[in-house]
Amino acid sequence: MLWYAGKRFLQMIPVFFGATFLIYFMVFAVPGDPIAALYGDHPPAPGVIEAVRAEYNLDKPFIVQYLLYIGGLFQGDLGTTFSGRPVIDVMAQAFPITARLALLALAIEAFFGIIVGLVAGLRKGKLFDASALVISLLLISVPTFVVGFVLQYVFGIQLGWARTTVSGAAPWGELILPAIVLASVSFAYIVRLTRASVADNLGADFVRTATAKGLSRRRVVTVHVLRNSLVPVVTYLGVDIGSLMVGAIVTEGIFNINGVGGTVYRAIRLGEGPTVVSFVAVMVIIFVLANLLVDLLYAALDPRIRYAK
């Protein structure tokens, strides 16, 4: 097991360089001159654009830009944004907030998704199952913007139960409402996945065996059915971390959260190579770790899964 985890850590090295190279190249390949665009409809003198371009090494060939970035990286310098802020400061500000938001969303979608999916799976074809289906469909087909707007309006403005937007420090409490919005789409996936697995496993031999052994239905359901149904759900949650962190652009916008999604999106639009690459590199590492965690969870959930090598 330890060897397995160690191997996975080592895999991060090629993944890191591969990903940063690829992303840096993609930002480089985005059409348009990012510096000229900084000034909007009021272009400065031509010499100004050239000078600023040189300041950010944008006048150099791609491979030089990339090597300069990697070189800086080893000295703990991730470059600066076009406003002159060190990228590392921006990351130190955005990642903790996003981590809190994503964890909350993950907890909310996992908790409610699994419970609703479990009940729906146990009562397949009944009213509860149908209602869960309707809610899932609604969340799939109504855009996040609207879900966020409605919740913000009802809970933030009408009822006053939550702050309308999140303050700069973004404490846990203020992030609950945004986390619910963020979790809404994934909720549909979790419900459907849990429901399907539970329905399948209800008829499985081990359940019949367990029932035959005289175990209570509650114990059969929670220990045997649920545990064996969680493998696909856990896989999905592991994959979902990414969408929750980088994909939260709309939710972050609605609630004015300074998170990873919005920062990366703005940096892509502005063409800020170092910002995009640094953020995405961290995201890749998070993915590798999340997937490692998921793989370890498999072994815990399903004893038949073993990692021999």
Partner: protein, 530 residues
Amino acid sequence: MGISAIALLSASALALAGCSASEAPAESDTAAIITTNGSEPQQSLIPTNTTETGGGKIVTSIFAGLVSYTADGDVVNEVAQSIESEDGQVWNVTLNDGWTFTNGEAVTSDSFVKAWQYGALLSNAQSSSYFFDNIEGFSYDEESELTGLDVVSDTEFTVTLINPEADFPLRLGYSAFMPLPESAWEDLDAFGENPVGNGPYMVAEDGWQHDVQIDLVTNPDYDGVRKAVNGGVSIIFYTSQDAAYADALGGNLDILDAVPDSAFATYESDFPGRSVNQPAAIFQAFNMPYYLEHWSGEEGKLRRAAISMSIDRAEITDVIFQGTRTPATDFTSPVIAGHSDNLAGAEVLDFNPDEAVKLWAEADAIAPYGDTVFDLAYNADGGHQAWVDAVANSISNTLDIEAVGKAYPTFADALNDRDANALTGGTRAGWQADYPSLYNFLGPLYVDGAGSNKEGYSSPEFEKILAEGASASSVEEATAKYQEAQEVLLVDLPSIPLWYSNVTGVYSDTVDNVVFGWDSVPLYNEVTKG
């Protein structure tokens, strides 16, 4: 017609709002902090490098220049006692005594001259450098000192211009012309993070939390025309106007100066009697490049006029923008002195389907347009799709051609095709004035070779009249010339004017006396709270 009525209405609404505010002298709290919306400055706060609204709002609050602007865009002296010239070429500036920066340094001639020299120098790459291009010694191509700046004494200096300019003082309230203290030159980067100014407000200690907000507090030593009646302003940075609007609705924001389009239909009822909707110094149009087939020469002129007359500006501003835009009648803005709604030839901006079809047919007689698709480029990240679609529909309904919007993912991408003369159709074009002058709407946009003249317009006639206006001996004479120059533009239509953006703002019931300036920024210093 309806256009002037709308302008009148909003003007009187403004007057009413002003009245009721002054009639209600609630006990206001001079220590109260006003909260308002803004965006993270794109650069550190060095005045000559601040050209966007996020940073501009802060710079004008913490610095005081030679002059400042009233809500109507009139110029009043601030640090200057007088700015005088006999020929419009050599200007004598005299400063008032007693002005200090918040670190105690006196504001002297050097404070201005050194800051301007820095801003103009090529190697400093300041975004506002072109504002100094009419001062003697300026160069776009080489390192060159502004020889036209001459310090006479601590309170007197002269500015010698390359070409005479009657309304030179008009631009001196712009952020590029602010003074800087000596301490700035020790470490300008550090200064930009923690600027020391001489304006009505100053940055609170550790007041700038990047990407979150900046806290400004009243400068107790300020004694100019913009003296604050409140304790300070906290500018909260938003990445989405919808979030800012929600905060205003939720009572977390005192003043919002940009209502999002999702609230256009409801902001007046959401904030009864506490909303503002008045024209701003923002001109919006689209340009047809001269390098495209069908769009040059006589054919191009006919087609531009036909397109212009096939757009129902009144209906689009009314339906899509819910009255938060004002249909254009010239190439400037109603908040600028000298704006006109009865220029000769302005009827080309009226919706006139019959005439449009006629002119289009005349152009087709020169060279048939055929099945060419008329497209209109815009950057998708700027919220332009709705009006572009509406304009395209209006054109296609009137002229029976296929007209569509063409979305570019980013502003940089769209700009790239404009700069490379690679457009396949029209392009969105907008201009927000830097300072309240007609010239600022004309020179940078339509003079051959000017920075924002990207679609290749060139008219010796227009440039001659414009130059006459710039060197006119009086402001009245200059205005007449600038209007005449616009009449040339109305014939050529290098830009097809659409509308003026309005400033749409709302404010909570905890604040009073909220007046929006010509530059769409509320006059924070006059706001009372409590």
